[in-house]
């Protein structure tokens, strides 16, 4: 079956300019060859640390940023080279929820206008019917209809994120890319939004691409998880196998670094990485992770490992598994 969305070898490089004549002096390799697919009704989580390119992937696949290289296919149709007008029908199917509910809503528009704007742009429904639809959307995301005439500053962070979700839902999309939708919210409000996103998915059989840095949140909402490091996917698999048998040393370190809200978790064995993430302007040769990897060997410094399916549905890009799967990487942390 053709997946809802497929991305092949996606690259997004940002040029760096220098001097009065704005010569290109270098490039930021934000996304450097990423491939994945998302099925109908599925949630793919994309996790990684700041600067790994996860947000750029989300924006590029919606063509909010033009890809440097690679292909984006929606139900098998190539949308990579479409212009803005040709993209319009696809925009109805692909929507986005942003991280910052304070910055992503126009302060001069009422909440009702914000949620109804996509209907106007796409010329859907008569103005009167539009208001009804917006009222229905408000109800669906747990906002009182009376709030339609209020302005963004009158809402709390959690409520604003609900407005953002209602706006994304207004065109009846099939895929929603959520970029850190809960990280600006308080813990008790995070749970409300995560539950809402899951309920909407069940009800409307939506597909999600869930981009976040918080591994626990990503694991909670996703079916499959892709881990990114410096512009590349290093591991991609079902969430249970990612947790049970991480095959990439970076995933292993990430899992053991996430603090667990349970007494006694402090005594587990940990892999603590040394050093910082290198700059995406000048990524290390070979495997991007080799400068911090506890299992590094000669080949890692020379050759970049390809993302390969080493077990059914379990993709990893690491030379440790060149001659079949090598386990354990180390003793896994006991919780």
């Amino acid at each position: 079956m053709t997946p809802l969305l497929e991305v092949r070898g996606l690259k997004k490089h940002f040029p760096l300019y220098k001097g009065v004549f704005s010569r290109v002096s270098g490039r930021v390799y934000a996304v450097d060859g990423v491939s994945f697919h998302i099925d109908r009704g599925e949630t793919l989580g994309l996790v990684g640390e700041s600067g790994c390119g996860k947000s750029t992937v989300g924006r590029t696949l919606l063509k909010l940023l033009e890809p440097t290289e690679g292909k984006i296919l929606v139900r098998g149709e190539d949308i990579t080279d479409l212009d803005a007008a040709q993209m319009l029908p696809y925009r109805r199917q692909l929507q986005m929820i942003y991280q910052d509910p304070y910055a992503s809503l126009n302060p001069r528009m009422s909440a009702g206008e914000i949620v109804g704007e996509p209907l106007t742009i796409h010329r859907i429904a008569a103005p009167k019917e539009r208001r009804e639809r917006v009222a229905h959307l408000f109800e669906r995301v747990g906002l009182r209809q009376e709030l339609m005439d209020s302005y963004p500053h009158e809402f709390s962070g959690g409520q604003r994120q609900r407005i953002g979700i209602a706006r994304a839902l207004s065109l009846g999309p099939e895929l929603i890319v959520s970029d850190e939708p809960v990280s600006a919210l308080d813990v008790s409000i995070q749970a409300q939004i995560i539950n809402l996103l899951m309920d909407l998915q069940d009800e409307l059989s939506l597909s999600y691409m869930f981009v976040a840095h918080d591994l626990a949140v990503v694991e909670h909402i996703s079916n499959r998880v892709a881990v990114m490091y410096l512009g590349r996917i290093v591991e991609m698999t079902g969430k249970t196998s990612l947790f049970e048998t991480p095959l990439h040393p970076y995933t292993e370190a990430l899992l053991s670094a996430v603090p667990i809200p349970k007494y006694g978790a402090r005594d587990r064995k940990r892999v603590i990485l040394t050093g910082d993430v290198p700059s995406p302007i000048n990524p290390p040769a070979g495997c991007h992770f080799h400068t911090r990897c506890p299992y590094v060997f000669a080949r890692c410094r020379r050759e970049a490992p390809a993302l390969r399916e080493v077990l059914p549905g379990h993709w990893v890009s690491c030379h440790l598994h060149d001659d079949g799967v090598t386990l354990p990487l180390a003793k896994r942390p006991e919780v």
Binding site: A191, V258, P261, Y263, I272
Partner: protein
């Protein structure tokens, strides 16, 4: 009097503190803000104490007063609009609220240090990090600038900054976020303080860097027997680092317990709700077909200028009864060392929940 407070003259000169002795005590602290919109009771009768060598976690959501409490300890609350209207803050028996501003300056950075969330905004961008660390040392210990710089390099080495001699001459923008937080820690610990207040020290950092920083804080605490007040919204960080925990809600302490008791049998419905609302990595990974819903705490945090009558949590609480909506529940010790401010604490603690 101040000399009596000063403990260790040289950084790392040895454990200068007696372990398990109460070093800092906050008693019935009330810090209010007098604004055009009314009086905001940001901290409204909070008490807690921290012992040497101990890490006390202070958790709560934004606006619960956890940071204002910390700023009050250092008397850094902007006045106006803020003012400490009641209470005492005792450092080894001395009430800091009775000190003059210049006496207080001798305490800040020397006996009590603080690390903030965003190191970039708390470091001076125009000074090399070595000079910034040296400044505190020179000020509090009266050594020459040359000597202070040498000690600063030594501190950078202690916080595991590679090539400390070279990095001492770097400006903050030349360092990564993790490095800057290490510099903040080096600065905070340069005078071997008795109390270190860490306000969301790792919130701006990536998890792999967070793990490094928390490890470092623990290592330095063991060496110096520092009492640490760890303020955070992240219950995972608390579970893995705190010995005891204080939970705050709407300007008050609603629960205090050992980390073990708090995570294994919380006594306040708010704590219970918080624990249920965070996704657990382990459980999430094993949820199969139907994903588990998280426990929601319904509604929103109330405005501090307009708190409900009775218990501030009552409007969001599943246990609330008429009693809760009338009278604020007193803080009662329900188990040894386990204090809860809730009319229904026994129902939770006895497992009726």
């Amino acid at each position: 009097m101040l000399n009596r407070l000063r403990l260790v003259e040289q950084p790392g000169a040895g454990p200068g503190l007696v372990p398990n002795e109460t070093v800092l005590e906050i008693a019935n602290l009330k810090t209010h803000f007098f604004t055009a919109g009314g009086v905001v009771r940001a901290v409204d009768g909070v008490s807690y104490a921290v012992r040497s060598g101990e890490t006390l976690g202070v958790v709560g959501e934004s606006g619960c007063g956890k940071s204002v409490t910390a700023l009050s300890v250092l008397r850094l609350v902007a006045d106006p609009p803020g003012r400490i209207v009641e209470g005492a803050i005792r450092l080894a028996g001395t009430n800091l609220l009775d000190l003059t501003e210049s006496e207080m300056e001798a305490i800040r950075g020397n006996d009590i240090s603080m690390i903030f969330q965003e190191p970039m905004t708390s470091l001076n961008p125009l000074m090399t990090v070595g000079r910034q660390i040296g400044e505190a040392i020179a000020l509090h210990q009266g050594v020459s600038r040359r000597e202070a710089l040498d000690q600063a390099v030594e501190m950078l080495r202690r916080v595991h900054i590679p090539e400390p001699e070279r990095r001492a001459h770097a400006y903050p923008h030349q360092l990564s976020g993790g490095m800057r937080q290490r510099v903040m820690i080096a600065m905070a610990l340069s005078c071997a303080p008795k109390v270190l207040i860490a306000d969301e020290p790792t919130t701006a950092l990536d998890v792999t860097i967070q793990a490094q920083i928390l490890d470092l804080m623990r290592e330095l605490q063991e060496r110096l027997s520092t009492a640490i007040i760890l303020i955070t919204h992240d219950l995972g960080v608390v579970a893995e680092n705190a010995d005891r925990v204080v939970v705050m809600y709407a300007g008050r302490k609603v629960e205090e317990a050992s980390a073990k008791a708090l995570f294994e049998s919380p006594g306040h419905p708010y704590t219970l709700g918080l624990l249920g609302s965070i996704p657990n990595l382990e459980i999430a990974a094993h949820a199969t077909s139907r994903r588990a819903r998280l426990t929601e705490i319904k509604g929103m945090v109330p405005s501090l200028a307009d708190l409900p009558k009775g218990c501030a949590f009552a409007p969001r609480c599943g246990f609330a009864t008429d009693e809760c909506r009338v009278d604020y529940p007193p803080l009662v010790q329900r188990r040894p060392g386990h204090w809860v401010s809730c009319w229904h604490a026994d129902r939770l603690l006895d497992g009726a929940a």
